[in-house]
Each structure stands twice: as structure tokens, then as C-alpha cells.
Amino acid sequence: MLIADNLTCSFGGVKAVDQLSFVVNHGDIFSIIGPNGAGKTTVLNLFSRFYNADKGEIWLEDDNITKISASAVAKKGIARTFQNVELFERETVLQNLLIAQHIHRTTNLVTECLFVGLARRQEIRFRETAEHVIDLLHLEQYRDAVTGSLPFGVRKLVEIGRALCLRPRLLLMDEPSSGLNPEETEDLGHWIEDINQDLDVTIVMVEHDMSLIGRVASRVLAMADGRLLTIGTPKEVENHPEVIEAYLGC
């Protein structure tokens, strides 16, 4: 479904990602691991088109998305969450979920200004989707809370909800479990499985928590210093000598 072909991206002299190639299949929960500074976030940012690849190509099914604009990525059906939570902090949870449905709008400036039937029906449709997501992630009690004032764990969850509001086929998650307590991580595991199976969303997640990975991931990619170490099942990767070395070495 998603193909990274020989991706390379460097900042000054640092090669953050170096000739990385891999394939994510439809329905995968594909996990990327690696020590700090390995270039995991950079890989996601390349997919989101925040960074330009120096070399290599990115394919989403039959589309070459190496050169499209960052805002076009969402329209292709790719949603994402961020390592340190990037919500619209001054707005409520509900408003965040509504903003996220931007790509599904059918109105234009004129119909919006007049707020005729079309615009109102669209608002109701958006609201239904938002309520669906609120229901799914049990966010009812936070619906009208301003996201900037919520606890970190809830904000991470809202961010996942916001990504789901795009109704994506591919979800990129950057360390979804960081900053969560063990219970929250446990719940997160269930939600990731639900999202993957019930909503038919392929997932690529950067993660550190090996127990979470062992529980949900179908395949794992290990990288260090921007380079691929190995790809395989969680068990295989965990016991791979180079992976062990990479983690001990830092």
C-alpha cells in the first residue's frame, strides 16, 4: 500500500534518513523502532511531505506522492499524529474534530457565508462523524473542554480522534504511547487494534514500548542512524543482533 523506495533526507551534514526502502501492506500495523535520533520522526515527516526527500520516492498504491504538497497528503487519505501533540489548543475537542474534516467539505465561500441548506447539512454530517469518533474513544466528558487545558494522556487520545475524523486509509502515529501511564497504554493497544480492524485503517507507528509493539504490531522495522537494520515480526526484530547492538550502543 505504502512504498518507500530508497528514501534519503539529510540536514546539513546529518543524514537523518539514508537509503531507506520498505513496503507497508494493506491492513498492517507497521511499527518503526530505533534509538533516539535514528530518524523515525523524519520518516513520518517525509511521508507527510513536511520534508523534501533528497533522493528516493514514496508511493501510495499507484500514486507517486513524492512531490505533492503537504496539504494534499490528507486528501490522499493519510492522517497523522505528532510526537508531542499538535492540537488546536485554544479550541474545544469538538471543534478540533470538526476542523479535521476540512478535506470532506463540499461548500464554497458563498454557500458558507449565506449558510444555506447545503452548509447546514454539511455541519450536521461533520458533527455526526465527530460524535462517532467521540463515542469510539470515550471522549464524551471532554467534548466541550478546551484541548489546551486537558491532561496529556487525553490530548494524545484527542489527537488520534482528530486523525480519524479525516477518515483515512493510512494513519501515521509518532510515539502514541509516550507520556502515557501503563493503563492508558493498555487502552491504547485496544484502540489501535480497533482502528486497524473495525475501521480498516492501515497503521504506521513509531514506538518505543516493545510490549505494546509485541501485542499489536504485525511487522516491525528497526533503524539506526537513518539506515535500515531489519524488518520482521516483533519477535524476530527484538532478538536481532544488530538491533540489540544499536540499542546498547547508545
Binding site: 520522526t41 515527516n45 507527510s48 513536511f50 520534508y51 504538497s69 503537504a70 496539504s71 494534499a72 497528503v73 490528507a74 486528501k75 492522517a79 497523522r80 505528532f82 510526537q83 508531542n84 501533540v85 499538535e86 492540537l87 488546536f88 489548543e89 485554544r90 479550541e91 469538538l94 471543534q95 470538526l98 476542523i99 479535521a100 474534516q101 476540512h102 478535506i103 467539505r105 461548500t107 465561500l109 458558507e112 457565508c113 449565506l114 449558510f115 452548509a119 447546514r120 454539511q122 455541519e123 450536521i124 458533527r127 455526526e128 489546551g148 487545558s149 486537558l150 491532561p151 496529556f152 482528530r162 479525516l166 509518532d174 507520556g179
Partner: protein
């Protein structure tokens, strides 16, 4: 404590929360409609000024309060709107056509300035817009054949079907005269608010908010930053242009320095003091702006003479107010008002922390 029972999503989408809420606004409109019958000429002209300020304020609010872009050059759009409108009137284009044309002209210029906003933000954008305002002023000053240069331009009275909109009408049985222009401005303000409130509860408005709160997330949500910023700038400029056109009639005779940096700062003060990111804030801010000169003249009575006549007192006061609000009440008068409302709503249970923001986590990972 009053609970609002919501039985359909329409309740959340509607502008008015419920009948009670609607009633208060309806009453306000009613009061504004009959006010001229009882208010004197001075009071009417002050209210007219308030309406025009609110129209310009709405324009700047869209930009600053909703899209998070700063402009120190909105006086340029007042000036442009005023000149375009006046010139069109001079060539016998009817009022109802020339005002929208002035808005469109300003919208186009706003688009051009918006292009600058793509590359610069914050202080740099403020400086860029300031430079734009200076250019506009210079062009108007030097394009003498069209604008009359420093001699200015006389503004003809607005008319609709030969009826002079700027005339005062004596209502039967009342002593006071009623200004027709008051109603013109009021209707335009209500219209502008109607359109903007609608826009802000629809995807376009939300895309502005998205750009304001996190450009990176906005992009990940499929919001095209370029389109959103240019739209916002253009809309903002167009509204300010309408205000400029109306203002021209209030002034009567236009000069290249009819609107200056001080007006840009006043407008900025309007949105900051009123409350960034709220349409109510525009109204509060406009009221504040109208009352300010009165307050300053009172203040002048208390200050030593030397200070009063030195000049520069007003900019000093404006600047101080801006800074004080930005530091102590970033959500302005409207924010304060909401806190007071909430306090009474939750009376014994009010928590001071309700409005405290969680400390944001490290932002090192942000891609810029």
C-alpha cells in the same frame, strides 16, 4: 444556574443558543433601530462611528483573531477603500455599486499583501504591512491627477435613487433629527456580521483557526496554508475597505493622511481589547474605542499641563493599553465577560483554574 437542553445538532450549529439568547440580541437590534429617534445628533454620529469601527474591526479580527496574522497596515485598506469609493462616486457610479467595488479592490490588494504573509510571520509581517501602508499613502499623495494629491478629494454625498443618504430627516412629532446614514451603517454592519459569523462556523473559518493554532497540524488536516492565508487577508482587507468607504462620508474631505499608522494601531487595539478570536469582541472593542477619547480628555484634566501639550500622549496611552491587555487579559473584554458569566453560572463551585492552560509540552519536535 441555567441549563441548556440540546436535542439536536442544530442547537450547536445555530448562532443563537436558545430563545432567551436570541431575544437579547433581538432587543439590542430593536434598541439600535429606535435610538436615533431619541438620541441627539452628536450621539447618533458617535454610534455611526461605532458601527463603522466595528466593520473595520471585524475585518481585522478575521485576520488577527482568527488566522493569527498581524497587520500594522490596515489604515492602508481604510485609505484605499475610501479613495476608490470616493473616486467612483465622483464619476457618478451609484453608492450601492461603488461600495462593493471598493471592497473588491481592497480584497485584491489584500491578496497581494497576503502573498507576503506566506513567507513572513510575527514582527516581520507587521513591518511588511506597515511598509505597504506607507507605499499606499505615498502613491495617493503623488498620483495628483487622480487623487488630487495633498489637496485631497471632496466626498460627494451617498445617494440611492436620487435620495440623499446623508441627510437628516425630521420625524413628525419629534424634536430631534434622524440621520439616515446611521441606518445605512447599521444595516451594513449587521450584514457583515451575519456573513462573517456564518463563515466562521463553516470550514473556511475553521481553516483560519487551524492556521492560527498550528500550521503544521493544519497542513496535516489538508488545509492549504497558502489559500487560507490569502483568503483571510483578502477578506479582511475587503471588510476594512467597506469601512473606509463609509468613513469617507463621515470625514467629508479625504486627504492622503486621513488614515495613518495611528488608525492601524487603534484598530489593532480594538481587536485586542475587545477579545481576540471572538466576534463579540469586535463590538466590545468598538465601544471601547469610541469611549477612549472621552476618557483621555478627562485624564488630561488631571495630568500636568506640560505633558498634555507635549503631544504623543495618545499613542503612549494606546500602546500601554495594548501591552497591558496582551499581558494580563489576552482574551480581552469579552474573555473577562465570559469569566464573570461562568462565575455566576457555577456560583459556589467556580474554580480559578478553569481558564488556566496546561503547560505545553516541549516543542522541540516541531517542524518549522
Amino acid at each position: 444556574m441555567r441549563f441548556v437542553l440540546k436535542t439536536s445538532y442544530n442547537r450547536d450549529i445555530d448562532v443563537f443558543r436558545d430563545r432567551v439568547h436570541f431575544f437579547w440580541y433581538f432587543l439590542l437590534v430593536l434598541v439600535m433601530l429606535i435610538a436615533p429617534l431619541f438620541a441627539g445628533t452628536y450621539f447618533q454620529s458617535q454610534l455611526t462611528l461605532l458601527f463603522i469601527s466595528a466593520i473595520a474591526g471585524t475585518g481585522l479580527m478575521v485576520l488577527v483573531g482568527y488566522t493569527g496574522l498581524v497587520s500594522l497596515g490596515h489604515a492602508a485598506f481604510l485609505l484605499l477603500g475610501a479613495y476608490v469609493h470616493t473616486l467612483l462616486l465622483k464619476y457618478h457610479i451609484p453608492f450601492v455599486v461603488s461600495l462593493p467595488l471598493a471592497a473588491i479592490a481592497c480584497g485584491v490588494f489584500g491578496m497581494i499583501v497576503g502573498l507576503a504573509a506566506l513567507r513572513t510571520t510575527g514582527v516581520y509581517l507587521a513591518i511588511a504591512t506597515l511598509a505597504f501602508a506607507m507605499i499606499v499613502e505615498q502613491v495617493i499623495k503623488n498620483w495628483k491627477s487622480l487623487t488630487g494629491g495633498n489637496n485631497g478629494l471632496k466626498v460627494s454625498d451617498p445617494t440611492i435613487f436620487g435620495f440623499d443618504l446623508q441627510s437628516d430627516v425630521r420625524v413628525f412629532g419629534l424634536d430631534s433629527e434622524v440621520s439616515i446614514f446611521y441606518y445605512v451603517c447599521f444595516v451594513i454592519l449587521v450584514l457583515v456580521l451575519f456573513l462573517i459569523v456564518n463563515l466562521l462556523r463553516a470550514p473556511t473559518g475553521r481553516s483560519f483557526i487551524a492556521v492560527r493554532d498550528s500550521e503544521i497540524s493544519a497542513q496535516a488536516m489538508g488545509v492549504n496554508l497558502t489559500a487560507a492565508k490569502i483568503r483571510s487577508f483578502s477578506l479582511s482587507a475587503a471588510l476594512t475597505g467597506i469601512a473606509g468607504g463609509l468613513m469617507a462620508h463621515q470625514i467629508g474631505h479625504l486627504f492622503p493622511d486621513s488614515f495613518t499608522i495611528v488608525d492601524s494601531i487603534k484598530l489593532l487595539m480594538l481587536v485586542v481589547v475587545g477579545g481576540l478570536g471572538s466576534v463579540h469582541g469586535v463590538i466590545f472593542g468598538a465601544i471601547f474605542l469610541i469611549l477612549l477619547p472621552e476618557a483621555i480628555s478627562v485624564l488630561k484634566g488631571w495630568l500636568p499641563q506640560a505633558m498634555v501639550y507635549r503631544g504623543g500622549l495618545e499613542p503612549l496611552i494606546f500602546g500601554s493599553i495594548l501591552i497591558l491587555f496582551l499581558v494580563f487579559e489576552p482574551f480581552g473584554i469579552y474573555g473577562r465577560w465570559q469569566k464573570i458569566l461562568l462565575y455566576f453560572n457555577q456560583f459556589p463551585l467556580y474554580r480559578k483554574k478553569t481558564f488556566k492552560r496546561q503547560r505545553s509540552f516541549l516543542r522541540t519536535e516541531r517542524v518549522h
